[in-house]
């Protein structure tokens, strides 16, 4: 839908800017949904959480009941650290490797093998601890958490128990405006380091399971929040902020689908006003932020319903599984007493002793964090929506920062990135690191538009060129001769020239014939395009309404007295068009309209030579002083357009005028033109794109509607008749 809206905008050239703005506002959230940018915001994936509740048969009743209760939500998050090697051995870890190919005696728990701490794990933990505003333990240690499970080869997990590396911090976040917005601060209880377990692969028959130890020993950070969240949205945004944080810090890819970021949520509810917590239920199997939000809201509703019905005792301490299919939580296991993990200090690893200097060095090496970035963007004057969009993905933020570092206007840079660049990334399924444009060039582009060197429309064209192929703004402007004349003195000179060359029309205009404004504009247009000396103007001649319109325009606006006019007809005896035209009497079609112009009379015949003679005659009538030449060329190869181009080049044409059908595809795909194939691109567009001389495509707009002109420097210029 987004792209449909986006495309439709280009079809409405006159209200382009306003629509764009509207569109941006409307579609911010939709834009963010794209998976290709890799960053997700909790709320950006799917519709809001309430949807799930309302899918419940008693939705309305529950909504009402829920208002009497308050949920208390705490989250345990496991973040897989993207260190080169595992936590306690030198095995690399790559998600998706064939089973048991990244293993060694240490992570397989073979007798005699010993763990040796990867110091990068400490660095990552310190970074996260500092970023979460925690108090760090300079003297920390590892402990063994003991339980039996086949994916745990040693029979214990190396973890941290009573002295975690970091405690007592908080995280700041801004809720998206769709959910009411607002700033939140959630407490962080602790951050500790531990190792991951392997994975069980269950056979389809269910008769056996296999163990894959690739993941065993991969470093994790467990981040435990205070029970500070009250809604599914808050919880999901908390997790999304953690994801942003670890990505900003570069300590994890934070990918939920791969299990690099896993959240277990504890939910309890209590009547509003009550201080004591209710019985908490743990929810597992939350594979996305949106399922997290929905699972929590479901659970809140479930518990609220039970409480309101006096069945509060049915809320028991248990682990529930979120079922994505059924959009509900189901009991996984009830807790029968507390599990005794028999923690004790890991004797194979010495205590972790850190110097304040080391911690300080990590502190100073921290990058700008999401919260700092958002506050900075806010101070730059960006709207909260812009702020949230730009700061969501570290790579986008970096791109933006680099662009404005080159001197770009902040708001303009934000608009370009969030608008056309984001749309392009979405369409092409690319990340911002994969597109070809550099911040330097985007800045250059914005600067060029701002200074007026090029128009906004041309700028857009250059942008797509840069996105797809790279290169520099200056290079593309030079290559395509796209400079807009902005020097007022120069324009004045041209105006003077036009006025002095057309004293008759000037007189008439002064006499009140204001319609002549269009004439002057057209003359000026041509002067600007050419150099003012005698020129060779070519009109592509066909027995069509478009061609007739083009000639009409050329005679009235493009050709000056000293000029030479060439009528070029490309013959294609075997084309489908000719075959069809014979069958359908195609040439009959334009006759009425052309004859209506009264300038060119055309007999309804199938003889093409006839219409060329008619056209030549029309020229002599309109501009007796110009020289008129008729050229016929057989089609070269398969492409009519390239034939025209090569002929025009061969004849040293200065201006080429061609009739253009009002084409749907040209409007939609305008920016997607690429030099190669012309499939789906009309001839006029091809010529505009590929000619090194001035090429004007003409659409005659009805009887007195004037002309819609397109050229390399002007898009959809409406020349009033």
């Amino acid at each position: 839908m987004t792209s449909a809206i986006f495309r439709s905008i280009q079809m409405l050239p006159f209200c382009y800017h306003t629509t764009t703005a509207l569109f941006r506002r409307k579609n911010r959230i939709l834009f963010c949904t794209m998976k290709s940018t890799q960053a997700q915001s909790a709320t950006q994936e799917k519709p809001p959480a309430q949807i799930k509740v309302s899918s419940h048969p008693n939705a309305r009743a529950i909504d009402k009941i829920s208002k009497d209760y308050e949920a208390v939500i705490g989250i345990e998050t496991h973040v897989q650290l993207s260190t080169l090697t595992k936590a306690f051995c030198s095995c690399p870890y790559n998600y998706g490797s064939p089973p048991n190919t990244s293993v060694c005696p240490v992570c397989m728990g073979l007798p005699g093998a010993l763990p040796v701490l990867n110091s990068k794990v400490i660095e990552c933990a310190l970074k996260v601890g500092l970023a979460l505003n925690c108090k760090l333990s300079l003297n920390s240690k590892f402990d063994r958490k003991q339980y039996f499970y086949p994916d745990l080869p040693k029979g214990y997990q190396i973890s941290q128990f009573d002295i975690p590396i970091a405690t007592g911090g908080y995280i700041d976040l801004d809720l998206p405006l769709e959910y009411g917005g607002g700033h939140r601060k959630f407490g962080i209880t602790r951050v500790h380091m531990e190792e991951d377990a392997g994975k069980l692969l269950h056979s389809e028959s269910g008769s056996y399971s296999q163990v894959d130890l690739n993941r065993a020993g991969v470093p994790l950070l467990e981040i435990v929040s205070e029970p500070d969240m009250r809604t599914g949205i808050e919880a999901a945004e908390y997790a999304a902020e953690l994801q942003r944080l670890v990505r900003y810090l570069g300590v994890s890819n934070g990918n939920m689908q791969e299990g690099s970021l896993r959240c277990d949520v504890n939910v309890s509810i209590r009547p509003i006003g009550q201080l004591e917590f209710g019985t908490k239920v743990e929810i597992k199997n939350l594979n996305s932020f949106s399922s997290m939000g929905r699972a929590i809201d479901f659970e809140i509703a479930r518990q609220a319903l039970l409480l309101s019905q006096g069945r509060g005792d049915e809320i028991v301490q248990e682990t529930r599984l979120w079922e994505e299919g059924g959009q509900k939580t189901v009991t996984m296991r009830k807790k029968e007493g507390l599990a005794d993990y028999r923690y004790f200090p890991e004797p194979d690893l010495p205590g972790v002793s850190l110097t304040q200097e080391f911690v300080d060095s990590i502190h100073t090496s921290l990058p700008e964090l999401p919260e700092m970035k958002r506050r900075r963007y806010e101070q730059m004057g960006l709207s909260m929506q812009d702020v949230l969009f730009l700061a969501n993905d570290i790579n986008v933020a970096d791109f933006f920062d680099a662009t404005i570092a080159k001197g770009s206007d902040v708001k303009l840079a934000a608009n370009w990135i969030m608008g056309d660049i984001a749309a392009y990334m979405k369409n092409e399924k690319l990340t911002i690191n994969e597109i070809k444009i550099t911040p330097q060039e985007l800045s250059e582009l914005i600067g060029s538009i701002k200074s007026g060197t090029i128009s906004g429309k041309i700028g857009k064209e250059i942008l797509f060129e840069l996105l797809a192929k790279g290169g520099t703004v200056k290079g593309i402007i030079k290559e395509k001769d796209l400079v807009q004349i902005v020097d007022p003195a120069e324009i004045e000179k041209m105006v003077d020239k036009v006025l002095s060359e057309n004293p008759k029309q000037l007189e008439q205009y002064r006499g009140g014939k204001t319609k002549l404004q269009g004439f002057f504009a057209g003359q000026l247009f041509m002067v600007a395009m050419g150099d003012g000396s005698a020129r060779r103007v070519m009109v592509v001649a066909d027995p069509t309404r478009e061609s007739a319109g083009a000639l009409q325009y050329a005679l009235s606006h493009a050709v000056l007295e000293e000029d030479e006019l060439i009528l070029l007809h490309v013959e294609n005896p075997c084309s489908w068009r000719n075959t069809l035209s014979t069958l359908l009497k195609w040439p009959n079609l334009p006759v009425n309209s052309i004859s209506a112009s009264s300038t060119i009379g055309m007999e309804g015949g199938s003889n093409e030579v006839d219409f060329l003679d008619e056209m030549r005659y029309a020229c002599k009538l309109a501009q007796p002083k110009i020289r008129v030449r008729v050229e016929r060329s057989p089609i070269e190869g398969k492409e009519r357009a390239s034939t025209i181009l090569s002929q025009a080049k061969a004849m040293g044409v200065d201006i080429l005028v061609i009739g253009q059908r009002r084409s749907f595809s040209s409007a939609i795909l305008g920016y997607k033109r690429s030099g190669g194939s012309m499939r789906g691109i009309d001839t006029a567009e091809y010529l505009i794109e590929n000619s090194n001389f001035t090429c004007v495509a003409v659409q005659k707009k009805g009887q007195n509607g004037g002309y819609l002109l397109n050229s390399k420097t002007q898009k959809n210029f409406w020349l009033l008749a």
Partner: protein
Amino acid sequence: MLSTMHPPRSLSCFPSSPISLLRHHTSFNFKALSSLSTQPLTPTDTQASQSSQILNLRHSLLSRKLTATQLVNSFLTRLRLTEPSLKSFLHVSDSLLRQAQELDDKINRNEELGPLAGVLVGVKDNICTSDMPSTGGSRVLDGYRPPFDATAVRKIKEQGGIIVGKTNLDEFGMGSTTEASAYQVTANPWDVSRVPGGSSGGSAAAVSARQCMVSLGSDTGGSVRQPASFCGVVGLKPTYGRVSRFGLMAYASSLDVIGCFGSSVADAGILLHAISGHDRLDATSSKQEVPDFTSLISSINFSESKPLKGLRVGLIRETIDEGVDHGVTTVIRGAASHLEELGCSVSEVSLPSFSLGLPSYYILASSESSSNLSRYDGVRTMFPITAADELNSLYGDSRAKGFGNEVKMRILMGTYALSAGYYDAYYKRAQQVRTIIRKSFKTALDEHDILISPASPSAAYKIGEKKNDPLAMYAGDIMTVNVNLAGLPALVLPCGFVEGGSAGLPVGLQMIGAAFDEGKLLKVGHIFEQTLKNSRFVPPLIADE
């Protein structure tokens, strides 16, 4: 000098008569020791001394008096003769002669030899070897071949040592008699009806019976020192962290160390030097510099009448108290007198926390072992698989069938001690005691250069004698566990005999040093050993050959 020593009267001369086989082996080696020192050694009685087999061998090989093949053959012959009654090996390498031949070829090509070239080393079976099974003495690892060598083994191989085989032990090192092996009971070469001690009983018996020259053991609570004492060999427990534990099957990780057995202090020191040093595969291994123990020993000047003049020796009072065999006390007091003769000032020192060591040790060691042995869960296919219908029976059956009773008992004790609600009362308390013990040793060692004590309250006892009395057996570790808790180095060397068996039973003297001060222990031990008259600690088993 020996006038102050009082070995049991009937045994005072034993074994003074040269042993045929040993003489064959040592006759050409008398000068070896002296040839290596910068000054000619003048031990008071060369014949009585325990000479270094390693240095002698090196001399013989280099001077072409002996080939490695001859050497291996003579040891294999002895091994075949003695093994049926001793059962010290669980596995003997089948490539010994090939390795010997390779060494001979090397010598013939005049290639440079490693410091341990041709040295025949026995390795306790809880130390991983890639070319031999490593069972830890447990059924749970029956037939298991690790994919890697323990760091200590790798270093021995790199320096030219030849691994003779894998020696018997109490399952996973849990025991003091080697009776808790899942495979066989090893006998004491001095009296085959007696235990060799444990848990490194196989390694001690093998060195004692000259089935190999030196051997590796592991010492968690005395498992090197007590069998060394029982078998009349030198046992060296290094400082915790001196030798990498990588490849040692963990029993109690904070206490385990790999230790060395030799028939002389020099050999134990040379072996220790070979295996010491930091290892990046063991985070608890120390980066402390490793002194050259070999040259340290060979540079000792025996021309002085009192070579240990000024050395402050503390005899730990609590170790010669009640509960210690009178014979043992007598021998130890004799050894103290000998040290005084050598110039030491010997005084009694009290370590009030000494008796706390035993309960503290058994709580900590059991706790850690209950965790360390969790990995033997029957899940991974390199271990014997027990068919089971569901997960809990897989665990239950594998462990019920795989572990012996002693191991099960310690797992149960350790699991209990770590359980919620008991942790503070047991594990945490034991850790506090450990800290106290460490401090009291520190204090004592500030005032003394070394501390001495018996290595065991008794000499070797009969097989089966304490099998059904685990507490009595545990009590036998009283002399040694404190040292593990404090992480200190200790050297045990035979210093006399008590009555028992056909020829008397050896008694070991334990010398405890400051952390990473093995050099001092080896120096004192070497001088003590070289000056000890009329005592050759060669068991009657091979004297009878």
